[in-house]
Amino acid sequence: MADKKLTVAEILAAARKADTQGSGAPTAKEEASSPSEPSAPPSGESAEAAPAAPSAPAKGTPPKKAAAGGGRPSVAEMLAMARAGKQGGEAAEAPVAKPAAKPAVPAAKAASPAKKEAAAAKSAPIDTQSILSAARKGTKPGPMTKAEAEAKAATAVGDAAKKAKAKEAIVVPPMPVKPGYAKPGTAKAGKEQVGERRAFLFGMSALAVGFTALSASFAAWTFASIRFMFPNILREPPSRFSVGTPDKFPAGQVEERFKAQFGVWIVNTEYNGQQQIVALRTVCTHLGCTPNWLEAEQKFKCPCHGSGFYKDGINFEGPAPRPLERYAIQFASDGSIEVDKSRMFQEEMGQWNDPACYIPV
């Protein structure tokens, strides 16, 4: 029965019944006594039949006052009432102390006072506070300091005597009879089930909304990131550009004008016995810093690790393993020199012999 799911019709019927009868089924009264509805009780006498019914928020403390709900019950209460009504009289006899008006979880926790005491007596303290206090009292497990060990040894005898006395003084109270609600029962399980299902349903929807929003925003963020990789305008200097006519580059000169914008030195230098105009890339072949042209020393010098290159780009000092790279260079149709950065030529690969990477002068 407990496992049986209520239909909407049944719930509604029970709710109406509860509404008309005030507090129809005997157990329905205690449900109405939830603290959310502290209104005047028209049927207080029946609520007293459930003295052990703990209100959900103040778990463990038996409610003294019978604040039976006289006002219109909430939906949650209605549902609980419906279940109580279906369970019939046997639930009324045994004061099933399930404040089903509240979610089932606190109700399950809210053991009867007797049960709680028993549990407290049996189990060791588990929260930080009690562990700490236990540690201070000196009854903690684990390693102990020297001082503690000495103190313990000194007081061991006295403690034993005290303990014996204390043991004598203890009068064991008779074990209270286990009430029906404390026994594992079908009714309790049924009530909890409904609460859990409801919590699951509503919790689920909140979770679903949350996760949907999260995934949506994440997806939007991902798409925006991908979109970012394809900008509408590329502020990139063109890979082909004109640097002027050859007469602007006299022999032995390193032209630095194009370094800032294009990352290129235009050098008129001698390589393998031939005077050439070449375009050197301004990136150190060691770790990619930008070297500086030192006119006084007639060399390119990298500030990061001290690599040095001759005017023609050949490495000679520091850790750079290979010469600077050349870009393709050629005459444009108007007679000016055009550098093409899309092609690079490496000396160590023998590519500097390619006529595309120099203009003979």
Binding site: A135, T290, C302, C304, H305, G306, F316, G318, E348
Partner: protein, 467 residues
């Protein structure tokens, strides 16, 4: 100090030096007071054959600092400083070789005579001399510009902190070694009372956290953040320095290919540190300071940490200037300083200098491209070409590397590391030997660079492989 007139510079230095000397005086005054109140075994110092109470000596030192503080107020002419001749000599003599060899020798001396150096009186004297040296060097504009730069303040603090902590640990270790030689337990065993993590340790950590946060606040208020000009992809600052804790790596990059010094060796450092618990078979020295019982571990660690990491950081921070040239501590950072660093590969030495030939040509292996299908020749041709270069042009370097990494470990196992090999077994020993050899390759390459201008032992720029 650029942009400051000599007058302004003197005022800046004096505003630093006066509180500096006063705090040194207070430091020594407190020491004197403590020695006077609490008589110690070290409460007398033999001075010129006489036993002088040490409290008196340190009180006199405190007065000396106060005098220095007063002189620091007196302007350029009275400012106490190291003589110009000394500065010039230091600038002329120092270089990477002197610096590295000097720090190594210093560490060896400190290690050998550690029992003397850790004595409180000696250590306190050395400490005072270090601080005095810093104070006396500050009036030099070039020294001040580097040391007082906000970037470099942590490094200067690091030098002193490291000296202190090394002394602290060594002092305990020396005392423990002495006790254990006498058959007594180490100091830490006398007081091995267990304490709780919570609250004992956590409270200490909390207090340290608050104190350090406060220190950082005051630091941030006192020293301006060293911001530079906006970054530009075509203009690299000169000198361009890594964060201070990576300057050891940057110094390593001077001697290695970026792939080696930037990726392989740093990874090996981390892997090697992780491997220490598995390599170490010495069960002694757990939970107390000792040097004698863990000599090998101690020497290897201090060599790697103090010599190959910290002194390289200090070198990179304080002594490397524009174009990564070496500058003496009192030298002006001239961006046009010319240093001959003409580096030559081993293959060039071998073929061109010794044999008087030109370098062997790179084997083209073009027949592979025609004889084999593309999907095979695509990877086989470059690979074969690489191996062919290894054993033709770079033959001598390849052989020396093979000897170093393949033949040396067994040789070491047969000779100096025989006991290690017996204790550790093959695999553990090989890991240890290779890690040691990689560690030793840095100083070896530094020495080769300095003495022979050697660039790379094996240099195959065609395939970005240089060692």
């Amino acid at each position: 100090m650029h942009g400051l007139s000599p007058q302004q510079f003197t005022e800046t230095v004096s505003s630093f030096l006066v509180p500096y000397y006063v705090s040194l005086a207070v430091m020594n005054g407190i020491a004197a007071l403590w020695l006077w109140k609490v008589p110690k075994p070290t409460s007398t110092i033999r001075l010129f054959g006489m036993a002088v109470p040490s409290s008196l000596v340190w009180a006199a030192v405190a007065v000396g600092y106060l005098v220095l503080a007063a002189f620091s107020l007196g302007g350029q002419s009275l400012m106490p400083q190291v003589p110009q001749a000394f500065r010039t000599a230091v600038n002329e003599r120092t270089g990477p070789v002197i610096y590295t060899v000097g720090t190594t020798v210093l560490l060896v001396v400190l290690y050998l005579f550690r029992a003397w150096f850790v004595k409180p009186t000696v250590a306190w004297t050395v400490w005072n001399l270090m601080l005095l040296f810093l104070g006396l060097s500050m009036p030099d504009p070039n020294f001040f510009a580097i040391v007082a730069k906000p970037d470099n303040v942590p490094i200067v603090a690091l030098v002193f902190l490291l000296a202190f902590f090394t002394w602290l640990a060594t002092e305990r270790a020396v005392e423990n070694d002495r006790r254990m030689d006498a058959g007594e337990p180490p100091l830490e065993k006398l007081d091995d009372e267990k304490v709780l993590v919570w609250p004992d340790l956590v409270y200490i950590e909390l207090i340290c956290m608050v104190a350090l946060t406060a220190l950082l606040f005051f630091w941030a208020m006192w020293l301006q953040a060293p911001l530079e000009e906006p970054a530009s992809s075509v203009k690299t600052p000169n000198p361009s320095k890594a964060p201070w804790y990576f300057l050891g790596l940057q110094e390593m990059l001077v001697y290695y290919d970026p792939w080696m010094a930037g990726v392989v060796l740093p990874s090996l450092i981390i892997v090697g540190l992780m491997a220490i618990p598995y390599i170490d078979f010495n069960k002694l020295g757990n939970g107390y300071y000792t040097i004698k019982q863990r000599k090998f571990a101690y020497i290897v660690f201090q060599l790697g940490f103090l010599e190959l990491w910290v002194t390289l950081i200090v070198l990179g921070t304080l002594l490397r200037g524009p174009n990564w040239n070496f500058f003496g501590p009192y030298e002006y950072w001239d961006a046009h300083k010319v240093e001959a660093l003409n580096n030559v590969n081993l293959s060039e030495y071998f073929w061109q200098w010794w044999l008087g030939k030109s370098l062997p040509a790179v084997p083209k292996l073009e027949w592979m491209l025609t004889a084999l299908p593309t999907w095979i020749s695509g990877w086989l041709q470059p690979m074969s070409q690489f191996v062919a270069i290894l054993f033709t042009r770079e033959l001598i370097g390849t052989l020396s590397l093979l000897f170093y990494f393949i033949a040396l470990p067994p040789l070491m196992a047969l000779t100096v590391f025989r006991k290690f090999y017996e204790r550790m077994g093959f695999i553990r020993y090989m890991v240890l030997a290779n890690l040691l050899l990689f560690m030793a390759s840095l100083p070896i390459k530094m020495i080769l660079r300095w003495s022979f201008n050697l660039k790379y032992l094996v240099s195959i720029p065609e395939y970005f492989f240089n060692f």
